[in-house]
């Protein structure tokens, strides 16, 4: 019966290592700073909107010079971000710092892109919808079939749940005549009719090559993008931007981010120092002159202003806060066990360890446990003592509850 009791104690300790810290967070967590930051093409400096704790209101200011702005001033400092406001006020400038700008250019070169580790780390069913890219219709229409792609491509008709042999063979021939290496690792597209046009799928094959698959007039369009062999792509975020200037953002296994342009699949490196594709988020706010790249993590964000044409970093701003020291998390709770995370849709255990000082707490708890046992004239309980030494408070509680 001893092993059963030990199992109960261990299991209860694990449960406590999960629940106690999460309850603690519920009690103690406070929200961090959440400043909005954007690179001003007028001032050529980062400008920010933040909540001022002393004045208890939002303040708008230039991060470099600390100059404050009114709301209307701020609009004109960030003309690309507030261009709709400026347009409606009739204040949109013709040129900024000597560079002529047109409304058309602002409209087509301004976009937002967000990446969340959750986009990549999510379970998905490997069934894909391939639209007709050249239907001649303004609206995209559901194609009436889906495909699967592993060791071959196969089109399935949802109404019958049967394979469309003819179409499958037609597309398979396109794969066979290319240098595509089966099995395919993954395919990335936007299977939605709510987009202006369709660029189909970008597929990573078994060799890490990226292929572009589309359906044009019912025929297969499959093209090797000749992605550099030195780069190992792990995730592709296919975009269908209004100006058709690029196809996708490609993420490699070294946390680099690339833009795959529509100029014959030429790739451009987007500098994102400190980015982690599995643990962080990325936000790109682009305008005709600068790309604002925000690399976000649990510790805050780092902002980079890139030259829109060369993608070179022209300015950067770090808004990282040092890891907050929390007495209980560092010294009392030996570990923090989590099963869910904002970075993934999967349930996965992750453990965060406290500092070595927690061993002192554990030792004190062992002493208390031994003292209680002595007072009740219990024999020495070796398992309990060792387990409390290891698991501290998480083992201490179940050892008291599930006593012999």
């Amino acid at each position: 019966m001893k092993p059963i009791r030990y199992t109960i104690i261990i299991l209860a300790s694990i449960i406590l290592a999960w629940l106690l810290p999460s309850f603690y967070h519920l009690l103690s967590d406070s929200s961090g700073s959440n400043a909005f930051t954007y690179y001003s093409s007028v001032e050529e400096a980062f400008c920010s909107i933040d909540f001022d704790e002393q004045e208890e209101r939002l303040i708008r200011y230039n991060v470099k010079t600390n100059q404050r702005y009114s709301e209307a001033e701020f609009d004109s400092i960030l003309p690309f971000f507030y261009y709709r406001q400026l347009l409606s006020d009739g204040r949109l400038p013709d040129s900024i710092n000597g560079r002529t700008i047109t409304l058309k250019e602002v409209n087509s070169k301004t976009f937002f892109y967000r990446y969340n580790a959750k986009d990549k780390n999510t379970p998905s069913i490997p069934i894909y919808t391939l639209f007709e890219s050249f239907s001649g219709r303004v609206r995209l229409e559901m194609p009436g079939d889906v495909f699967r792609l592993k060791n071959k491509i196969e089109f399935i008709n949802p109404e019958t749940n049967g394979v469309d042999k003819e179409k499958s063979e037609r597309f398979m021939r396109a794969f066979e005549t290319s240098d595509f290496q089966f099995p395919a690792r993954a395919a990335y597209g936007n299977p939605s009719t709510r987009k202006p046009y369709d660029e189909g799928y970008f597929i990573i094959d078994n060799d890490g090559q990226i292929f572009h698959l589309k359906m044009v007039n019912g025929k297969a369009f499959l093209k090797n993008t000749n992605f550099p062999a030195t780069i190992n792509p792990v995730y592709i975020s296919t975009q269908e931007p209004d100006d058709r200037s690029y196809y996708a953002f490609v993420f490699d296994d070294e946390n680099n981010v690339y833009l795959m342009t529509s100029d014959n699949y030429r790739i451009e490196t987007i500098p994102t120092p400190g980015f982690n594709r599995d643990k962080g988020r990325l936000m790109i706010m682009a305008n005709p002159m600068y790309w604002n790249v925000n690399v976000l993590s649990s510790r805050g964000k780092e902002c980079y202003a890139l030259n829109a044409d060369t993608k070179e970093v022209v300015d950067s701003l770090s808004l990282l806060t040092p890891e907050e020291y929390d007495f209980a998390l560092a010294n009392i709770l030996p570990v923090e066990l989590r099963f869910t995370s904002g970075n993934t849709d999967y349930i996965k255990p992750s453990v965060r360890f406290a500092t070595w000082w927690v061993l002192l707490t554990n030792l004190i708890l062992v002493a208390i446990f031994v003292f209680i046992g002595k007072r009740k004239n219990k024999p020495m309980q070796l398992f309990e003592i060792v387990w409390i030494g290891i698991s501290g408070i998480f083992g201490f509680i179940p050892c008291l509850i599930f006593k012999e």
Partner: protein, 223 residues
């Protein structure tokens, strides 16, 4: 003797067993009918699209059935044994005590697994006919934690009921609730895929817990 003991378990839980089985089948039938209606109303293509691209799970109504079934069956089986400490009668039978408890466990788990299996087979057939195997595989990965939680619930009901001390019962119950909760942390289909084996290990670890309760009952533990 073994057969007689199973006969007693059957007499005791007959109504509940049949009730749970009926609810399980009706629930599955209801899901199928509802889905058949969706096929006709919005078409299969749309339904597939919703499943793949919007991560809708078509069999969500099954979510709490396994634990509810386990709770009912476990209570039906062990609650009468606790009233007036009737379990003494079974423990007094000329059979090794461990065997008596194992037979009771075996009966309950057998019935429960039977009902689960009935449902799963229905589900698999339905899914294979209407959907590609990718859906079926995702479905299995999604519902596996629910059914495992059902079995764990059963084991904890046994452990809690057979435990002689009220205070310890409450703690056992709390532990059970926390562990079962662990199986319902996400609504995303297939979210448990990487940890299914951990859930299985947990299930195996929980299996003998009831024996400790019986041991404590035998020793007449009072606190």
């Amino acid at each position: 003797m073994e057969k007689a003991l199973l006969y007693k378990e059957w007499k005791k839980t007959r109504l509940f067993t049949l009730g749970i089985a009926a609810v399980g089948i009706i629930l599955l039938g209801y899901i199928m009918l509802k889905m058949g209606r969706s096929f006709r109303m919005v078409g299969m293509e749309h339904l597939w699209d919703v499943v793949v691209n919007r991560k809708q799970f078509l069999f969500r109504s099954l979510k709490y059935f396994p634990i509810a079934a386990a709770l009912c069956l476990g209570m039906a089986q062990y609650f009468p044994e606790v009233i007036q400490k009737r379990i003494k009668l079974s423990l007094h039978l000329p059979l090794p005590e461990r065997k008596v408890i194992l037979l009771m466990y075996g009966y309950g788990l057998g019935i429960l697994l039977g009902i689960y299996l009935l449902q799963l087979v229905g589900l698999l057939v339905f899914s294979t006919i209407n959907f590609p195997y990718e859906f079926t595989s995702s479905t299995l990965k999604t519902i596996a934690p629910w059914y495992m939680a059902g079995i764990i619930t059963y084991l904890f009901v046994a452990m809690v009921c057979l435990e002689p001390v009220w205070k310890r019962r409450a703690f056992n119950g709390l532990l059970g609730i926390a562990i079962v909760y662990l199986f319902f942390l996400s609504d995303v289909p297939s979210a448990y895929q990487p940890v299914l084996y951990i859930l299985l290990v947990t299930l195996i670890a929980v299996f003998p817990f009831g024996f400790l309760s019986v041991q404590r009952f035998k020793e007449g533990t009072q606190d």
